[in-house]
Symmetry: C3
Subunit: 339 residues, 3 copies
């Protein structure tokens, strides 16, 4: 703790009457740890920390997009091998350690772990190496995602601009890393990664979702993509879109069982801002266009355009108070965009 | 400032013609501080800084959830007393100092302060100790909030996952800390805390709101809960929900007077994504369910389910251009979920 | 990399069978950089980094609002000149360097650059000095923005509270800085600045937009203001408002050409939460009020109030399952607020 520069800073530390009050507070807090389980973590296998996962995610992104994500690297053909080697070694060490912690914790706390003892260690090594092996194919998909952003946004002036500033690319990259770890059976870390990026971008993609290539989210704030969503290639969605579940009762006896609760979006679909598509049996057919604010809870065939026939809107002259018009807001526009 | 590694870095510092232009800019900026009041803070009582409040909030969270929030602590029964003692001492010093600054600043700038001179110092100590005393009871409520998240989200696999990654828990924890300080009459700091977390999570809860136990916000981005909102126990809300005010004129003569402008939500209510509930006299009765996108400005009795009868939606075959259907989107679904 | 404190940390580094697997992964990643262009940046002119732009933006904000943004400065009439001089010098160095990098990169990568060789250097100096020269006038506009926030929000207790915690002020300040740089023809950096702040606040304002004085965004999460939007003085908007484009095809041959795609909002307009206003020819006349959730794609005359005549909502008694009411949700309220 830095030295207080406050005039009054020293005063309260010298006051003797504070000491017993502080002692009582400390004791009561320590006791509350004994009484209330579940929201503290004292003793027992260690857990991954949010700060460490954040740093790790940043390193992986810098390996995916060298020269863009991290500052001050002067990468060239001379030093690129050293850069990659150093990064891979660092990512391997951190990821293997965090994955082992997660697996061990799950093993000791969960009734449905079927890994034999000692396997956590070997699995962690395999997962960490597996992610490094997957980097080239992840780069191929993300290359297509970046180009989809450039093609899909009239405001994008260059790929460079997309790489340097678009939240969609960061969110989708983190999702694809987290999804890889999720499929490998790693607990905790995938969701921590997507929630870190949810915090940065306002885009909430569950690591369990399956998302095709050339995926672009414009603006993105408020987007929610649920755990069992399936999305084909070349899909574009806008801010505030929810791909969600109809309300269901959770089976608290078997929280690990995953039912299909979220929709399937086929390839080449565009979903405009604020649309809500719900339900595990809902399929939006190939090439369809879902207009802004549409609410959809059933399937539609390929190449269907759905627009909301907006409710009547009332236009009132504020000086006279007279209603001057009452109309469907769509009546003057056939379009459904909301970029 | 770090040494520039730029080839051209040195060049402009040597150019003599830049110096008078820079001097003129500096002088004009300094003068503008004399002319425009209110948006700078030179001389006068010091203010809490956002960075310091952010660090303080993080320390308080690490005391609420030891082993989860902060990294690298290997907590066990041996060292837990030292951890709690060190944290309490550190939080006390920081909080007392920031509260004293806030109170002093308000006293010297506000016409409606009725504290006698010198009381700021004693009040700051009492507030800081009071928060430490309140930690055990805050932990009890947050324990219930965490379990409400686990029970309420089909995607939650364990309490550990909730503790490590759910934005709702961070937002609600920060709100409960801020609300405690708000009730103690601390200016500035409560709102700074909730806005820091608004930035992290997209969840905007005013520290003046009153929120019962077992509260869960799923996804959360875009949620707004206004200053005079009252929420009972066991309430669940989803992303994009606004609990807001009907438009009113502000009384600029008495900005400190708080009128009830925001709704009351009774216990066991669920409010799905995008719903808007407005007005200080609006009461949503116990056990009610508010469907996605509902717009409500009047009270409803207990155990009422409100769903929006969605506007007609037009389904058009994109190849033929023919309209194939026009229907209420709700007609195939009785449900109102949007998880 | 810090020393591992993990029991198992040393184990995997000693295992000889890992080395060839790691080497293979490193080689494959390096090769993928040769194959996939565009999403990495090795060799060639350097680019601004997000971290550096973030630090620079913070310094500029501390010059705009001395004593509020940065911590631990004890500013007074004695030291204020030194503070301003040091900040100006630091901002000048950083900004000139970043602008030069951006200009050079664009020159070498774009077919439509018409700057003669060597001009990047001089332009960077002029832009950096130009921003410092513009600080006093930026402060005048932001002074009005701060007061608009105080007057416009019934929850705001003082200007100090606005200065210390309101996301609107941060977002609008960053936008005004970015807009200055955008008009000076600086590539990349303006959008990086607004996207950094989009991440912090959930407010997404394109640096190309033109926004008048006394502008206030309440709550803000989910707001999108597109590239060619024009906004007059004294406009207030709420969370989730989109000022966007109708869907158009991008001209990939000429990505630098900017068409007016987004609406014009005349002075003294209020736009409530969740409203969507689209299209480059859409003009919202002076003094109009746009209610929550309105969807507007055509112009309206001055002093018009538009409210959505909400769809019928169904109120059902959950115990009997009987429908108890079916009504327009607006029928009991003439108002359109959503604060």
């Amino acid at each position: 703790m830095k030295e207080s520069s406050d005039i009054s800073g020293q005063k309260w530390r010298d006051r003797e009457d504070l000491s017993p009050r502080m002692d009582a507070a400390v004791k009561a807090i320590t006791q509350s740890y004994d009484v209330l389980g579940g929201i503290h973590h004292i003793q027992g296998p260690k857990l991954p920390s949010r700060d460490d996962i954040c740093a790790l995610l940043r390193e992986i992104l810098s390996l995916l997009f060298p020269g863009y994500v991290t500052p001050a690297h002067e990468l060239n053909q001379m030093n690129i091998d050293y850069f990659v080697g150093q990064r891979c070694s660092s990512i391997f060490d951190q990821l293997a350690r965090e994955v082992e912690k997660s697996l061990r914790h799950e093993c000791e706390n969960s009734s449905h772990c079927d890994r034999p003892f000692g396997e956590c260690y070997q699995t962690a090594i395999d997962v960490a190496l597996g992610l490094l092996d997957a980097i080239p194919s992840l780069r191929e998909v993300l290359h297509q995602d970046a180009h989809a952003a450039y093609r899909g946004d009239p405001a994008a002036k260059s790929i460079t601009e997309v790489m340097l500033s678009y939240p969609s690319l960061i969110a989708v990259s983190a999702f694809r890393i987290a999804h890889f770890l999720q499929r490998e059976g790693v607990p905790y870390i995938p969701r921590m990664m997507t929630e870190i990026i949810h915090g940065f971008t306002g885009i909430d993609i569950h690591p369990g979702a399956c998302i095709g290539s050339s995926f672009f989210i414009d603006h993105g704030t408020g987007v929610v993509i649920g755990e069992t969503t399936v999305i084909g290639n070349h899909v574009k969605i806008y801010q505030g879109v929810t791909l969600g579940a109809l309300s269901i009762k959770k089976d608290l006896e078997r929280p690990e069982v995953v039912m299909k609760r979220h929709p399937t979006i086929e390839k080449n679909v565009t979903i405009y801002a604020g649309a809500t598509i719900l339900g595990g049996e809902t399929v939006v057919g190939e090439g369809s266009v879902i207009g802004g604010n549409v609410w959809l809870t059933h399937s539609i065939p390929p190449y269907t355009k759905v627009i909301i026939e907006s409710p009547y809107q009332i236009f009132r002259d504020m000086k006279t108070g007279r209603q001057v018009e009452r109309e469907h807001s769509r009546s003057r526009s056939a379009d459904s965009g909301s970029a």
